[in-house]
Homo-oligomer: 501 residues x 2
Amino acid sequence: MESKFAELKNRLAEVTDLTAAASVLNWDQATYMPPGGGPARGRQLATLSSLAQDKFVDPEIGKLLDELQPWAEAKGYDSDEAALIRKTRRDYDRAVKVPTDWVARFSAHSAGAYQAWTEARPANDFKSVADNLKKTLDLSREFADFFPGYEHIADPLIDGPDPGMKASDIRRVFSELREQLVPIVKKITDQKEADDSPLRKKYPEEKQLAFGLQVANEFGYDLERGRQDKTHHPFCTTFSIGDVRITTRVKEKYLADALFSTLHEAGHAMYEQGVNPDYEASPLAGGVSSGVHESQSRTWENVVGRSRGFWEHYYPQLKKVFPAQLKGVGLDKFYRAINKVERSLIRTDADEVTYNLHVMLRFDLELQMLEGKLEIKDMPEAWHDRYKNDLGIQAPSDVNGALQDVHWYGGLIGGAFQGYTLGNIMSALFYDAALKAHPQIPKQIGKGEYNTLHTWLRTNLYTHGSKYTPNELIQRISGGPLRIEPYIRYLKTKYGELYKL
Amino acid sequence: MESKFAELKNRLAEVTDLTAAASVLNWDQATYMPPGGGPARGRQLATLSSLAQDKFVDPEIGKLLDELQPWAEAKGYDSDEAALIRKTRRDYDRAVKVPTDWVARFSAHSAGAYQAWTEARPANDFKSVADNLKKTLDLSREFADFFPGYEHIADPLIDGPDPGMKASDIRRVFSELREQLVPIVKKITDQKEADDSPLRKKYPEEKQLAFGLQVANEFGYDLERGRQDKTHHPFCTTFSIGDVRITTRVKEKYLADALFSTLHEAGHAMYEQGVNPDYEASPLAGGVSSGVHESQSRTWENVVGRSRGFWEHYYPQLKKVFPAQLKGVGLDKFYRAINKVERSLIRTDADEVTYNLHVMLRFDLELQMLEGKLEIKDMPEAWHDRYKNDLGIQAPSDVNGALQDVHWYGGLIGGAFQGYTLGNIMSALFYDAALKAHPQIPKQIGKGEYNTLHTWLRTNLYTHGSKYTPNELIQRISGGPLRIEPYIRYLKTKYGELYKL
């Protein structure tokens, strides 16, 4: 059995190596590739991913999983062997249940749909993409039907990015959250707007990058096993546990963009760097879900990086880096500016309080479309209605409405958005557990010390990689199921100090 | 047949995509990879190259080649179809004749041999690597014997980097060249040494890089399909015809290093960028041999880049970039400095005249070792003797002697060096043909115009990629076989103006 297990691991390492190679090629394309490299790069990436897929769905892997399962289970649920078989079995079953014919049809369709969207968005022409979106919806339903026995048609779609999470559970949690959030947002936005003009002076790019990276490094992002580069859209990418990179977008005239996106991506990266090195080149390496991943980016970006304690330590340093720009701007004013809450139309620009409303309305629209209760042609209006209702504003067009996000135009409908808000909820849940174990953490943050928090997160979360499901992790760490109380408490405490609530 | 041909091309594109992906990973490792990425990167590269190899030696490719050969040949020798079958057949036969067992043994051995060399060189400890080198020699002979019927045991080894070139031909050409060169070197080095101290002031790195890249760009190196990055050792790497990159090493205190290595690598890159785009993702893409490749790096680095005309145009610009460093240094003095000839021990630092002596003695030692006429244990002394004889100097130790180059310690013995000097010889041969077609080229170089030369090289050489063998190219371009006269004439003319010959 040991030798069969070794063979399985070798085969999985080969698959991981191919996907890691594709990640390097993607990173290169986003960072340094000259324009002429585009056409060949597309073909190279297609070759790598199709080879990785072929190698993974090899029936020999299914046979090894069957043979190894009893042996691994005998080692106990918490053993790495059992976890590897469990996780691989889950991924394998998901992969083999989807016919190659569907994969080919979807990939041909999505390339065209994405291209059409890039043209439709600037032209505010939803009609031109409606048929594509209809096809995407059909393909999404087809995909769900490869996994019969689901409770909700969205479940198989959610199960990819957020394994084990169900539409019904998320719906319940989201509706509780929405009920709490809508009045908070109303109360805040009825008050005087915070002034963020100090953030909108001219901040030289290199200094912004250096400051953000220094903070990320002090959080615990290991630069011997990572690096930062500039891209149009910030992201984090993993080539191995020893090589987890972040990218940052810098706006010369908006200090908050590069800084907080660096801390955000560093949060993702610290999660990936913190995985048990024994899991290298296996399906256990890497964060377990989009929600849990987002919980860590949000912890370091928001819970830590937008806290008052954090800036008590760093603001004097920031003023030294940008003395002219921040002259006469006190800590209070700066802290209010970076936590400005406002009704806005663009999800990616939204503040911590309103952000979830953007996400949850998209999630609801996804479910309604999948359920057949909302037709594609009516979706843009439903979008506008929800913005009016939840955020009290309406977009002048679909450009900042239903054409806003790439997700449905480059991928499937279903499972695309919930991870963002699940992550926010979990960030407070996990941070709460960390504070219960180490009440001194906020005080340490005020002194620029992150070792206790980072070590606790590494030990209780990061090291496990994909060993446990998100729900298992939530139970292990917080002693109960997913719940919004800690997150609501966090928001009410923080924003109760900034605004009258 | 058309559909079989398309299938062959698809299979070859898959192989090319895998090797291109490996090239991206190698480039990343040399440029931006953080140290922690090393172990996984080694594994990822091994996976990619072994998959590429598996895909290429697939018997289905052999079958397709058999079936397609008559069909392709009927289209005529000069057709792209016939060329693709010819070139692929050649590569395929070379690949399938080498048993996987040998490949595994060699790759295990060479990793250890390379590691041992990195330790032996600084310790001047040839003895510690002698057994490894003996094994390398055995493996090199074994390799040759997979190709029975050779005329000289080095032929199958040379045939990889320089297809169709034979030890006997190279030996003949090299011995003529050596006979001519040794007295020239003696005559020059008996005269007063050129003063290159102006090159050894402090030159800020970024300005060096920018100047070199500007010149490369003006030569015709297309930056929409290429870029420059910094590495420890300069190289050129191809990911596709649309993405050919160069890297440069910069020494703050030696102007000539970055500048001429940039022009050198840009020469390689222009060759690769100039290949017929129809050959993309096939064995016809890319330069045909190490010798022909080197002819182009040497053309742009030396024949053009170290010529007087070139500097008549560029020296005023260089002086503007480095006014303090070049104050009081006239064009004559600068031109002498960049063409300083000296007896030296290190091949990679050698000037245009002595360089070939370094190369040819290594080639001769390779042949003697392979012939069994020189034992490994006696090789370091033979090395010293040849330096004394050909260059009139002797290294104080093996550090700058037999331990100097990585080639035999990371690869095979045989075929490692001849390309450098073949390239020098061909650079003059091809340049001569260009001048016959366009006598105005030297005048244009004096005005910073390269279009005529670049277009001629692209049309007569670059566009063919690997369609023709090196000997076919030499015949097509120069109307005869490989010969040294143009090169000797070039050296005698140029150095006859700088020194009394």
